[in-house]
């Protein structure tokens, strides 16, 4: 091997340590780090194949501007001047809030910090958000409200000591393979218990002590049901509740009606199964709740998260090793992008824009006046406003909402309506097609920076090769734009300097600097230079002091099947692909394994519709239709279908419902009504 650089995997939130090998400016290999605390000599198939997409010939290598319906190559000077000029013009003409900025959970902490600094300090708007809105916005809101911190409470290696896992709405082996593997090992090799609650019979279900298949979108009901059983049987931790929580009486009152019989009617979970699962969770000493999009991507996403928090508090399962409420963050840096404030309501470290003291602090360091106090627009609202004609200019860094956001026809219309769209990208994505200016960005292999994984580990990515062609790093591009807009406080010679600024402004990152991040990073909160980082949260005391029970009442999903649209559609990912497929569909091994989209359908439904494996069907919802092939499987329940959202030619999000959670504004990707017709 010639040159090896230790960096962090660009796919999921596990944050595995991998070495990239380079030769003659090309990446030729990707290997696990044996000592890295997450990877420990292993990687999933995506990590092992992370070398390929970086080299592809169709990487964007030159800035492009729209010209006669196509694109023409231009120099950086012209591209950057156009972006800055157009954004300034729109601000001048329509006001700052006619601009929107979409940051990226695939980009580094430093780049996300600069994107929000660009929006706030340079353009004076809080309209900055990113795809966390579409995955864990409910977590950030729900856990911040109950516990005082919206992050995964515990750590990945603590899975190795847990007695029990309650996994719900997380297809862990497919989506977080190096966490899923720890669950498989714990259950098989040392007899740990496992409760899986998921409408789809996921891989982990076969190892489960109890597998509960709830109806889609009934999570508050079954969680309240478990809380009801635990209180009724006196299995709750009275001392813990007394000492460390508040509002228990309210919880008791709300869950009273959620008897196992009542829950069975709503959620379709057998009463005895619910009781047994509730007992097992309550009686296990070290019990970890593990969840992901199946909980968050609902119009009741925040309620679902709060309910899980209630369940954990009730049994004293928070604040100790190998316990807690553990949202598994999807993107490699979705935790970090939230941490550094690429959200419309907070600066870095979740400091509210509405808080004057926070604004004053940022104004002082950024040398600006009058940072806006009103929270800005979320991703979902940005597209609504664009369609209404109120948002005129959008700057997107490394996101592909045309494929990833709900109701993509709506997104496409919104993008068309914009007066100006600029996109930083590594490939010509479906979203970039709509851009007026495309700025070619460096990939993760071509830059320095940090990602924060799901367990709050701030870890380095390190440059292995020079950016391809004329591509530049996102942080350099953002600085260039800020400078061209006349702002003088966004010049850095290295991302480490940006991290120093983050640390200065962000208490939870206060002790983080590059010299402390070798080799495997630090877990926040890390408030001071001598702080060793935090393995698990809420030890002895919750982040907000006493944790608060926040009981919720079950509400049905926004759109349920009816006579016309008879199936419930749920969307998600498969193990071999990543999100909108821009990287994994360019990776030969991964794309060969699953080369096309499909719909999972239960054998009984297939029989009724007279369709077989491999048949092509039309799936339609009130918003659009796609064609795809059929996969007949017991994995999905009767009446439900599942479509992965990676495939642009059969894009699941043409169908999905853009209805959002009222607080977190997260769309309901997990439930909408569709009909299926054989072609």
């Amino acid at each position: 091997m010639d040159n090896l650089v230790l960096t962090t995997c660009p796919f999921c939130g596990c944050g595995c340590g991998l070495y990239l090998e380079s030769a003659n400016g090309m990446i030729v290999g990707s290997y696990p780090s044996g000592n890295h605390p997450v990877s420990k000599g292993a990687l999933c198939v995506k990590g092992w194949n992370a070398y390929e997409f970086i080299n592809k010939l169709d990487r964007l290598k030159v800035p492009l501007v729209k010209s006669n319906g196509g694109f023409k190559e231009v120099g950086w000077e012209e591209a950057l001047a156009t972006v800055s000029k157009r954004l300034l013009e729109i601000k001048e003409k329509y006001g700052a809030d006619a601009l929107g900025f979409l940051s990226s959970a695939k980009a580094t902490n430093e780049e996300n910090f600069l994107m929000m600094k660009l929006a706030r300090a340079v353009f004076n708007t809080n309209n900055v958000d990113h795809c966390a809105r579409l995955c864990h916005a409910s977590t950030v809101a729900g856990l911040a409200a109950t516990f005082g911190s919206g992050a995964m409470t515990n750590s990945i290696n603590e899975f190795e000591d847990a007695d029990l896992f309650l996994v719900t709405g997380s297809d862990t082996t497919e989506q977080h393979p190096l966490i899923g593997s720890r669950i498989i090992n714990a259950v098989n090799d040392r007899g740990a218990g496992l409760i899986v609650i998921d409408p789809r019979k996921i891989e982990l279900a076969k190892y489960a002590t109890f597998y509960l298949a709830q109806n889609n979108g009934t999570d508050v009901a079954w969680i309240n049901g478990m809380v009801n059983v635990i209180i009724k049987e006196g299995l709750h931790d009275r001392e813990y509740i007394e000492k460390r929580t508040e509002n228990f009486e309210q919880l008791k009152k709300v869950v009273e009606q959620y008897t196992p019989e009542y829950v069975e009617k709503i959620a379709g979970i057998g009463r005895n199964l619910l009781i047994q699962a509730a007992r097992l969770y309550a009686k296990s000493k070290k019990a970890m709740i593990v969840y992901s999009m199946g909980i968050t991507q609902h119009t009741t996403g925040v309620d679902n998260v709060k309910s899980l928090a209630n369940l954990a508090m009730l049994t004293g399962h928070v604040g100790f090793a190998s316990t807690g409420v553990n949202p598994l963050r999807g993107q490699n840096n979705v935790q970090g992008a939230c941490d550094v404030g690429a959200l419309p309501n907070v600066f870095s470290g979740y400091q509210k824009v509405a808080d004057e003291a926070a604004r004053v602090k940022f104004e002082k360091i950024w040398k600006v006046k009058n940072l806006p106090p009103k929270p800005g627009l979320t991703v979902t609202e940005i597209f609504n406003k664009a369609l209404e004609g109120k948002l005129k200019g959008l700057y997107i860094m490394g996101e592909n909402p045309v494929i990833s956001d709900p109701d993509s026809t709506h997104v496409r219309k919104a993008l068309k309506k914009l007066e100006f769209l600029a996109v930083n990208e590594i490939f010509l994505s479906d979203t970039a097609q709509y851009a007026d200016v495309i700025l070619p960005a460096a990939s993760f292999a071509e830059k320095d920076g940090t990602f924060t994984n799901t367990e709050r580990r701030v870890e380095r990515i390190r440059q292995a090769i020079e950016p391809v062609g004329q591509a530049r790093t996102d942080w350099e591009i953002l600085c260039e734009i800020a400078t061209r807009c006349g702002y003088k406080e966004m010049e850095y010679d290295h991302p480490s300097k940006i991290m120093d600024e983050i640390a200065e402004l962000t208490p939870i990152y206060g002790g983080i600097s590059y010299d402390r991040l070798d080799p495997f990073g630090l877990q926040w909160p890390c408030p001071s230079k001598d702080h060793p980082g935090t393995v698990y949260l809420h030890k002895d005391k919750f982040a907000k002091g006493k944790a608060t029970f926040m009981p919720c009442v079950y509400k049905a999903a926004d759109e349920l099947p009816d006579d016309e649209y008879t199936f419930v559609l749920s969307t998600g990912r498969v193990y071999w692909h990543w999100h909108t497929g821009t990287m994994t569909r360019r990776t030969s091994t991964l794309d060969r394994e699953v080369p096309a989209g499909y719909v999972e359908i239960n054998p009984k439904d297939a029989e009724k519709l007279n369709i077989q494996k491999g048949d092509r069907v039309k799936i339609s919802s009130r918003r659009g239709q796609i064609e795809t092939q059929v996969l007949v499987t017991e994995k999905v329940k009767e009446g439900s279908v599942f479509v992965p959202f990676h495939f642009r030619e059969a894009a699941a999000n043409v169908l999905t419902n853009p209805a959002v959670d009222p607080v977190a504004k997260i769309p309901e990707y997990k439930v909408c009504a569709v009909k299926i017709e054989k072609i």
Binding site: M1, D2, L4, L6, G17, Y19, E21, A23, I27, V28, G29, S30, Y31, P32, S33, G34, N35, H36, G41, A42, L43, C44, V45, G47, W48, Y51, E52, N55, K56, L57, D58, T173, P177, L178, G180, S181, I184, N185, N188, D189, K206, D518, P519, F520, Y575, S588, T589, R592, E593, G614
Partner: protein, 344 residues
């Protein structure tokens, strides 16, 4: 067999000196404590050699990567023209290999010329000098004494270093090895009878330290004679998460896929490591897959290593390095298969 001494203090100087004439590869410890077989860069020689780590416990990536990279270009094309990218053969010194890995290299060398000569591999592998530094602290997952591939070899190496206190006892295994010592004679000293005795004890101790003992021959015999143990394969297949890691890190896995990267009328053809546990590995153009069931995917790996390789070459494809287990997220290793098959 001629025996020499190499003072530990002389090792870096020897490597530095040899790297002038040989493209030299040595085990280097990264700042994160991971050891990798790296090319000694002539410009940064001293800096590199400061990180030399000969008593490493494990090498996640096997040295096969030197001759068989994870990704390599086979040729480029532009319009109608094909541009060869195959590299000319260079003399290579691989210093600090483990015995099991040398066995694997010899196995791969044979494979890549068995049916046809794979020029891409052979140009990187033909002209080389293999220097073993025998294992002193075998890791818990390896079982080379059972596969008879270590911790020291009788033949197959050019030089074999036995780690004794303060110095290495150097065994010469070939004429090339002897010539190498002559060329760098100043770094080597004559060995005494005592030194040879020291090395005998060190070898014995290393052998004793390999704790995992398996009845390898019995397992192979049974696999060759009996029906595949389907239930066992089913159990493994159920647990497997299909990362491909066991095959990627296997020092004798040689499967590759071929793909083109094309833009307009130019591009390149590449090959990259493949793994037979993937369904796409055998799926046919029609969509039909002769090996679709998981247990069949699983069985192929073990049947190939332990049975097919043995029947065709007389040597099993497993060299007992234990990497498959070390790199498996769900703790599956070939050692468990060997144990299961050979048990009463």
């Amino acid at each position: 067999m001629k025996v020499w001494l190499l003072k530990k203090d002389n090792v870096k100087a020897l490597c530095a000196s040899a790297s002038g004439r040989w493209e030299t590869y040595v085990p280097i410890e990264s700042f994160a404590g991971d050891v990798q077989f790296m090319r000694l860069n002539n410009e940064k020689k001293e800096l590199f050699l400061d990180k030399l780590k000969l008593d490493y416990e494990s090498l996640v990536v096997p040295p096969k990567v030197i001759a068989f990279p994870q990704l390599e270009s086979l040729f480029k094309f532009q319009d109608e023209k094909i541009i060869e990218t195959v590299k000319p053969s260079v003399k290579r010194l691989l210093f600090g290999l483990r015995a099991c890995d040398v066995k694997a290299i010899l196995f791969m060398d044979d494979f890549f010329k068995r049916n046809f000569e794979d020029i891409y591999y052979l140009n990187r592998s033909t002209d080389k000098l293999l220097v073993i530094v025998g294992c002193k602290h075998p890791q818990e997952n390896c079982f080379c004494t059972s596969t008879k591939t270590g911790p020291f070899l009788e033949t197959g190496f050019d030089l074999q270093l036995v780690d004794t206190p303060n110095r290495y006892v150097v065994e010469v295994g070939s004429k090339k090895g002897e010539e190498f010592v002559s060329s760098y004679r100043k770094f080597f000293d004559e060995a005494s009878k005592d030194d040879v005795e020291c090395s005998r004890i060190a070898k014995h101790d290393a052998e004793e330290a390999v704790s995992l003992r398996l009845d390898f021959e019995k397992a192979i015999k049974r696999l060759c004679e009996n029906e595949p143990p389907r239930q066992m394969y089913e159990k493994i297949a159920e647990r497997c998460i299909y990362c491909g890691g066991c095959l990627y890190v296997c020092p004798t896995c040689s499967c590759f896929n071929v793909f083109d990267d094309v833009k307009a009328s130019s591009g390149a053809r590449y090959r990259n490591w493949d793994a037979c546990v993937f369904r796409g590995y055998t799926r046919e153009a029609s969509g039909h897959n002769p090996r679709f069931e998981k247990w069949i995917l699983t069985s192929r790996r073990y049947e190939h290593k332990l049975k097919y390789d043995y029947l065709t070459t007389g040597m099993s494809g497993c060299v007992g390095c234990g990497r498959c287990l070390s790199s498996c997220p769900v703790n599956i290793g070939i050692s468990q298969v060997i144990e299961e098959v050979s048990k009463e």
